[in-house]
Assembly symmetry: C2
Homo-oligomer: 127 residues x 2
DNA sequence: GGTCTATGTCGACCGCCGTCGAAGCAGATG
DNA sequence: CATCTGCTTCGACGGCGGTCGACATAGACC
């Protein structure tokens, strides 16, 4: 099971895969403890340079997905790459799927839009 | 000197305080090491629940600024609040100014727009 | 089955970071 | 000057987390 545990960062009650942020925009009102905990998990996942490069590599790869072997050249050992990809998966930012010999990662739809909306307060365009 | 060191997260060569992101959108191309280092600093600063609450409290406060005493009720000691506000300052997300007895914090203009653009790829509206 | 490649997991090391109490500093006020 | 309040800095503690080498696992292929 490649996807061990995906945290519920998006409100599933919003129907389909629409961007439903976990929290109001930061400028709307002070976040409470629970909202802050949830949102901080997402930002924290992108708060490491290696993870940010891996995420960007997947997000910008043709077809919207990338094999681990395509993105492993970030200057750290292979176990470390695997470790960071797991963190991104657990944060709900990436999903993974094994196809034959290789494992492909892709960006969880609507996560980018949701995070953008928390920051800017603007509903992001449909992905 | 309240502002000990503000990291240059925005490109000052863009004229004025316009939103000039340090990096291309994550979906455009893989970030290089330097870009990832810079962008990760911003996300990391918001990757702590206490810091996120403090930032949100300042960002949503009337007048766009808040005294430390207005936002200190986040469940940690006052030195810890000060520590986190310093981190947010050093990350370039907040500025501070002493006026008489109190110290006021405000959100660095265009930072929210810049981060949003990195995520969504869309130029954010003027704040 | 045996082996080879691609990933993930384990265990250990170590530095970073969030936390606190105590002390220091800056203005205000008397 | 003395003192009080608001905030920052200091020093210490403890745990989280990034990193690696070694090992385990999953398919592919012979």
């Amino acid at each position: 099971m490649p996807n061990t545990k995906v945290l519920p960062l998006l409100d599933p009650a919003a129907g389909g895969s629409a961007a439903a942020p976990c929290c109001p925009p930061l400028t709307e009102r002070p976040l409470d403890a629970g909202e802050a905990e949830t949102a901080a998990r997402m930002f924290k996942a992108l708060g490491d340079p290696v993870r940010l490069r891996l995420f960007s590599a997947v997000a910008s790869h043709e077809g919207g997905e990338a094999c681990v072997c395509d993105i492993s050249d970030v200057g750290v050992s292979q176990p470390t790459v695997s470790h960071h990809l797991k963190k991104l998966r657990e944060a709900g930012l990436l999903t993974s799927e094994r196809r034959g010999t290789w494992v492909y990662y892709r960006v969880e739809p609507s996560v980018l839009a949701a995070m953008g909306q928390i920051l800017t307060g603007r509903p992001a365009a449909a992905a």
